[in-house]
Point group: C2
Chain length 323, copies 2
């Protein structure tokens, strides 16, 4: 039988699940609201996968492997998740084993930003480049892909650049440090500097006001872009990835974000011949609005782990099978 690989991106508001064909193209997708809390998260994920299976006329247990992208601290080996605050999951949740048990399929769990980095490489045709996916959402973090693989690091902290301090006089961060990059370059930072009215997303409100010529909005927007540019610079000066791909909720404002970040990188290079040699303005990209790279990347994570034989079902079966 052919392989049917599913990927699911579980976020704080919605669950997006996709099926990839053999060429890694999306052939089906399902979008559901996320139910919050440990049981809600598992139920939402299982339901999305069942609907996905129906869409392509198979049963959920026919999926070859399911990859799951989820915020928080993921123990990839066991499929356990903790600190997924956006999902209302404070403690540990055995997400991989639970989904595997309910659906009868091998499940692989990965941190959502790391999964999205794999998805970005695939969707932008950058599979051969070392890249960083810079997720600018509520917080700020990067996923690194080098040599075609997600870099996890010694303790899963690779890419946690949101908690590098860039200003000793900056705001206190939720991590306890002061002046972390995340306090300047995140959706939360925009919301603090530009509280939007009428429930509009602050980033959309800010970029619209700046485009309309509001001088305070222009200042706030350009300062924000300067800090995103700092994150790009940081990623290149440490890992020297070829491309930094901007993603996360804030990129829903569209191409204006990339334009502003490129201008910020150009401004910074103008005062530093050293920075100019790095040619940063040509090395930054943005994900298309509405692209499914989190779910696609989750599917690719699942496929990679399945190919190397490392999935939740296999592990949970260890006790029942002869070695």
């Amino acid at each position: 039988m052919t392989r049917v690989v599913a990927g699911i991106d579980i976020g704080g508001s919605k669950v997006l699940a996709v099926v990839l064909d053999e060429r890694r193209d999306v052939v089906a997708s399902v979008r559901l609201p996320t139910s919050i809390g440990a049981e809600g998260v598992v139920r939402s994920g299982a339901e999305a996968l069942r609907q996905l299976a129906q869409q392509i006329d198979v049963r959920a247990e026919d999926f070859t492997v399911v990859g799951v992208g989820v915020p928080g601290l993921v123990e990839v080996g066991s499929g356990h998740v903790s600190h997924a605050v956006n999902l209302g999951v404070g403690g540990a949740l055995a997400l991989g084993p639970e989904l595997s048990r309910r659906l009868g399929v091998p499940v692989v769990v990965e941190n959502d930003v790391k999964a999205a980095a794999l998805g970005a490489a695939q969707l932008l045709g950058l599979e051969d480049a070392d890249l960083a996916f810079l997720s600018i959402g509520t917080g700020l973090a990067a996923g690194l892909v080098t040599g075609g693989q997600v870099r996890r690091g010694a303790r899963g902290a690779a890419g946690e650049i949101g908690h590098v301090s860039i200003d000793p006089e900056g705001p206190v961060c939720r991590c306890g440090q002061r002046g972390c990059l995340e306090t300047f370059a995140s959706g939360t930072a925009i919301a603090a500097a530009w509280p939007a009215l009428n429930g509009e997303p602050p980033a959309a409100s800010l970029f619209a006001a700046a485009a309309a010529g509001d001088s305070r909005a222009v200042r706030v927007r350009d300062t924000f872009a300067d800090h995103v540019a700092s994150a790009v610079r940081l990623l290149v000066l440490t890992c020297d990835v070829e491309v930094v791909v901007l993603g996360g909720g804030v990129t829903n404002v569209g191409s204006a974000l990339l334009d502003c970040v490129v201008l910020a990188l150009q401004r910074q290079a103008a005062t530093s011949p050293f920075l100019a040699t790095l040619n940063l303005p040509a090395r930054v990209a943005v994900v298309p609005v509405g692209s499914a790279m989190g779910a696609v990347g989750a599917a690719l994570s699942g496929l990679a782990a399945f190919t190397s034989g490392d999935t939740a079902r296999r592990r949970s079966d260890d006790g029942d099978r002869p070695a």
Copy 2:
């Protein structure tokens, strides 16, 4: 015939050359003063290698491969070096091809910090760990070893963390930016804050005065250690290497530097539960004073390139040999 691998570390004041045996242990070494300028650098290197050959009763052309570590921007493919300001080499120098021609051996050139990172992994028995070698000398830069190999990055800029700005109000850096980590955590930064008398190295003078209880020296030393700790944190939060090894000229002050950096990491972790989970104080080490990791690492770089068939002689022979 058995392999005889030589490595040479060319610094601003001295040249250190070593021979490794099959078990990668140092079996001979030569130390000479460096003659400055393009011709001087080539001559110093060639002379050290000839003396090294004599020491083990072979001719220089009997070396299987010679690895060279040198400051500046190295084009590893061609063996060319530029911006080696400490060596009095401003423009480009065809160091690999020149040494290869004079000695009749394959030569591989690598940036000295990147080479030292390989040497540190070998000398500290950390070949299997991902590590960063943090070179604290005139400037500040890191060499990254992941999966047993030096990470060079898309444009050779991997590890250039000295030019990450950590303070928008900080001093102007030689690179044109403001508040670069190098302006706080380098020998140059110590010399500016603690100008030593009688030609004593400023770092030695500072650490001695602090150990003797001079309160201003204690403050300068602890601020310096805080910034070295920031560099350690930065390396872990981006690449999540398992170990950060402190090296470079400033580490000649001995174990007091490591002690102060560990204390700084402990202070920082005390205010941040997030940092505390990274267990940074246990992940930092220092190279033993007087160890030859630059030269050993250069030899290992040479060996690695030789094994993969990528050396200066082979390339320079391309025109003469049938394909």
